[in-house]
């Protein structure tokens, strides 16, 4: 088990699905401030399970960090009022040390990469 993120998320390992196909995210709002080099993402998880929300948030964060120039600060949090554990999930996502340590786990990284990959 990795830092606060359940690994058993019901993804069928032999037929990986993207987040959109899994319908686990309802809405994603993105605010970019280029001058201040910040990106703030709000997402609404459809599944109340805390591990799933964390995994989604982590995947979004990883995708943005990989895609944006290094100067950008990326903040990912749950749309307020849409999840029972939003404070706990937001706090984990905001802790870059926890995120970095978690992603050193190759199994979790694999799951994140599957969440982000397009179905061929």
């Amino acid at each position: 088990k990795v830092t606060g993120v359940g690994v058993g998320v019901g993804v069928n390992a032999s037929h990986p699905l993207t987040l959109e196909e899994l319908n686990v995210v309802e809405q994603v709002r993105v605010k970019v401030n280029d001058a201040e080099s910040t990106v703030a993402v709000e997402f609404t998880p459809t599944i109340p399970h805390c591990s799933m929300a964390t995994l989604i948030g982590l995947s979004i964060k990883v995708k943005l960090i990989r895609s944006l120039p290094e100067r950008f600060k990326v903040d990912v949090h749950i749309t307020p009022g849409t999840h029972a554990s939003e404070h706990a999930v937001n706090k984990q996502l905001a802790d870059k040390e926890r995120v970095a340590a978690a992603l050193e786990n190759s199994h979790l990284l694999e799951v994140v990469n599957q969440c982000l990959s397009a179905r061929s």
Binding site: E70, R71, K73, K91, A94, D95, E97, A100, A101, E104
Partner: protein, 336 residues
């Protein structure tokens, strides 16, 4: 003034100094009151990498700490171990590996006596280790007071008193009581993870910094104190006497309190380094600190750590997610 900066290579992060001009002031902030001083390209000291200790850890090395005597270096790693390295004429040798934490070790610190070491981890615990003259290390206590990941440990400058900072938003203090280590104080007030703590030179005050973007100053009140602050039993009480808010725009990862000059430096996720000075005359109950210097783009990414040189006043080191280590020369401005 902002002195020369070591232009690190990504691989070596040490290099010759390069004089650099002032950064543009950040929006909405008053310009730093310090008059910039641009030294010529240094003919003097520069920093050279003397050793790379690559064999000790399997994962990220999170923190390093020199022993008070300077002979040993402790390294804390995400691989759940802490290595102790001994300086030899031709390099460093790993003399022992401290095991026991269940997961990532976040910080390590030596007590001023040199006989005690503390480590802390995401496993929520703080460990106290004793070392004898034969370089034998023994865990003497496992402290499970925090309810979450422990980010930082630091020792009091002249007493065997230990402080820890945690993801549970508190600072805790520990000392030995009848042969056993106990938590003797919990400092509450921060609204998010406390990333670091630092004692002042006297050890009567402590500064803590947090994800809540504030620095808090705490003062120790001993039993029977004349200010009338209540204490429970023989343990001192720590009270928050100052809250520096509105200065930092993102998480503050580190705070360093210079024992020579009293200046307080912070490392922030907004890429800036700030130095605060206490306004005089000092009012102990309600000290005021003002922003004495603000380097808005000290690094091109988050600043993770700041440290004052213990012998040379005004010399500050910083490091960042950008892979560089920078050195700064700070002078207290005339009007502060």
């Amino acid at each position: 003034g902002r002195g020369w900066r070591g232009r690190g290579l990504r691989e070596g992060h040490a290099g010759g100094g390069v004089a650099r001009g002032p950064s543009p002031g950040s929006q909405g902030q008053p310009p730093p009151p310090v008059q910039p001083h641009y030294p010529p390209a240094p003919a003097g000291p520069s920093w050279v990498c003397r050793a790379v200790l690559g064999e000790g850890h399997q994962r990220t090395v999170r923190k390093v700490a020199w022993s008070p005597c300077g002979t040993y270096l402790a390294s804390a790693s995400f691989d759940a171990t802490t290595c102790i390295w001994k300086k030899q004429p031709d390099g460093f040798e790993c003399v022992t590996t401290l095991e026991g934490h269940e997961n990532e070790v976040k910080s390590v610190a030596w007590a001023p006596s040199g006989n005690l070491l503390a480590t802390c981890s995401r496993d929520k615990s703080v460990w106290v280790w004793e070392v004898d003259e034969e370089e034998e290390y023994e865990c003497v206590s496992v402290l499970n007071s925090h309810t979450q990941d422990v980010k930082h440990v630091v020792w009091h400058p002249n007493q065997e008193l230990l402080a820890s900072a945690s993801y549970d938003d508190t600072v805790k203090l520990y000392h030995e009581e009848e042969d056993d280590w106990v938590c003797c104080a919990t400092l509450e007030g921060h609204e998010s993870t406390v990333w670091s703590v630092a004692f002042d030179g006297s050890g009567e005050r402590l500064a803590s910094c947090s994800d809540d973007k504030t620095v808090r100053i705490w003062r120790r009140y001993k039993p029977g104190n004349e200010e009338g602050v209540a204490c429970s039993g023989t343990d001192p009480t720590w009270k928050c006497v100052c809250n520096l808010s509105g200065f930092h725009t993102r998480t503050i990862y580190d705070v360093a309190w210079c024992h020579l000059t009293g200046a307080l430096a912070t490392a922030c996720g907004d890429d800036a380094i700030r130095v605060f000075e206490e306004s005089s005359p000092a009012a102990p109950q309600q000290p005021t600190f003002s922003l004495a210097a603000h380097v808005a783009r000290a690094h091109s990414q988050d600043v993770n750590c700041v440290a004052w040189n213990p012998k040379e006043p005004g010399l500050l080191a910083s490091c960042s997610d950008d892979g560089e280590i920078a050195f700064w020369k700070y002078q207290r401005p005339e009007v502060c």
